[in-house]
Amino acid sequence: MLSIDGVLLDFKRLDSLATGDSAIHRLDPRAKVLVTLVFIVTVVSFGRYELTAMVPFFIFPAVIIGLGNLPAGYIARKVALLCPFALIVAIFNPVFDREVLVQLGPLAVTGGWISCASIVVRAALTVGAAIILLAVTGFPAICRALERLGMPQAFAVQLLFLYRYIFVLTEEGGRVSRARALRSYGNRGLGMKAYGSLLGNLLLRTWLRAERIHMAMLARGFTGEFHTRREFRFGGRELVYFLGWSALFITLRLQNAPRLLGALVTGISR
């Protein structure tokens, strides 16, 4: 179970990574969002039995972690935490797909195992890319980038508000659930009845808070329109960043680099 306080800490950690100041951090967020999209699309476009060809894609997270000065261990841990979930869905593959695809000496590897591994690698890559995007861009900047790329403003504003108040409400939620835990000995009190009124209470307080925020907005001249700073600049650096990575991803998608490299190094070719 995710502890609610743990989640909050995690959130703050990721959020503060985005305040870093590196060449990557300084890029226009649109460039970073677009590159991440191209990355994810190329990765997921691989076939189900593809494994080796996906490996070169690790270059992208590795380079960004390097350039963006991100804590590699933390990001690796975050990605690793998710792998069990990918495994749960992937583990059926070896059960249902027993065709032997590769014979490694005495070891017969079935298609199921290959596609299972492929799912895990895929998950690690896509999840890693998303987390890295967050860490070098920050959620609010991503929202603004998406807005500039055509996301409706109402939704962008919704995301920003949500993000802002997640910090407040998870704290509040943490407090009420701690209070409940302290007063429910064993499992009594953790049941549905208490849960209903606990959430009801939290909901009411949330509602009142929304009313107060609305007041504060009106007090400062809010009329339904949101004006934000327009400070982005999609310049030459961004263009190079976007085109460079995209070209690399597409090349890697079309050419199985590890196989070429392996053939080169071991001298074995077909």
């Binding site: 703050k12 959020d15 108040y165 407040v168 925020i213 504060a216 400062r220 001249g221 809010f222």
Partner: protein, 249 residues
């Protein structure tokens, strides 16, 4: 300047559920005055403040801010004149960064970009929060939040500053810092507070509300000397005016 005058006449407010929160309130606050509104929980302080910038409409009675009587047409002007700082800064700071929050008001007023920037910088400087500009509100401490919340209002250049329980929840240092800050403002100031020591220091005039009615209105020191009055309104003399518990003086 008649600009900075707040006049409330026979104000009554009944909430939709039938709670009579304010009964027949009248007072007049003139330019440059610093006034505390005190009273027990539920006395109607917050309700009163919410009338001053037109968020709540009087059930009956009249409010004038500066030259304008409160009405739908004057509401935008009144909201620019009265800067309202809410009790919980988390309600006031809703934008992704401190800068965006402080710029929210000026941008809504339709100011051009460079002006907005100057205003933001100035407002943050005045509350000593210039270095927090790019921070997210959830990364601020309680005292910082409060100061930034005040900046969000200052950036609109209000003539009258209204604050609901400004020192509530602050540690002694942050409280002291905030009081120093407020002392330096030459706006008309209206506070509600349970922090009577702060009231004693900052406000020359005090209005006591009790169950939705004005119970007393006068110089702060005089009011705080009247123990019977205070006790009758579920209040207590500020510590600095009580005898020393050790030496009894």
């Amino acid at each position: 300047m008649s600009h900075h005058i707040v006049e409330v006449k026979n104000l009554r407010h009944v909430y939709p559920d039938g709670t009579p929160a304010l009964r027949d309130i009248s007072f007049r606050i003139t330019h440059g005055e610093s006034v505390a509104i005190i009273g027990a929980n539920g006395a109607g302080k917050s309700t009163l403040l919410l009338h001053l910038n037109g968020y709540l409409a009087p059930t009956s009675g009249e409010i004038r801010i500066g030259d304008f009587p409160m009405s739908k047409a004057t509401l935008p002007d009144i909201r620019r004149t009265v800067g309202m700082v809410f009790q919980d800064p988390d309600d006031q700071l809703f934008m992704p960064t401190v800068y965006d929050d402080v710029a929210f008001g000026p941008m809504n007023l339709g100011m051009p970009g460079p002006d907005v920037e100057a205003r933001v910088r100035d407002a943050l400087q005045r509350v000593g929060a210039g270095h927090l500009q790019e921070k997210a509100p959830y990364h601020l401490s309680g005292g910082e939040k409060k100061r930034v919340a005040i900046a969000t209002v200052l950036s609109m250049s209000p003539d009258i500053l209204v604050m609901d329980e400004p020192t509530n929840g602050l540690d002694p240092f942050a409280r002291r810092q905030l009081m120093g800050l407020l002392k330096d403002f030459h706006h008309t100031k209206i506070f509600t507070s349970h922090d009577l020591d702060m009231v004693l220091e900052l406000c020359e005039r005090t209005i006591i509300l009790n169950e939705g009615a004005v119970k007393a209105d006068g110089p702060t020191r005089e009011i705080f000397r009247d123990e019977a009055l205070l006790a009758g309104c579920r209040l207590e003399k500020p510590l600095s005016m009580q005898g020393c518990p050790v030496c009894g003086k």
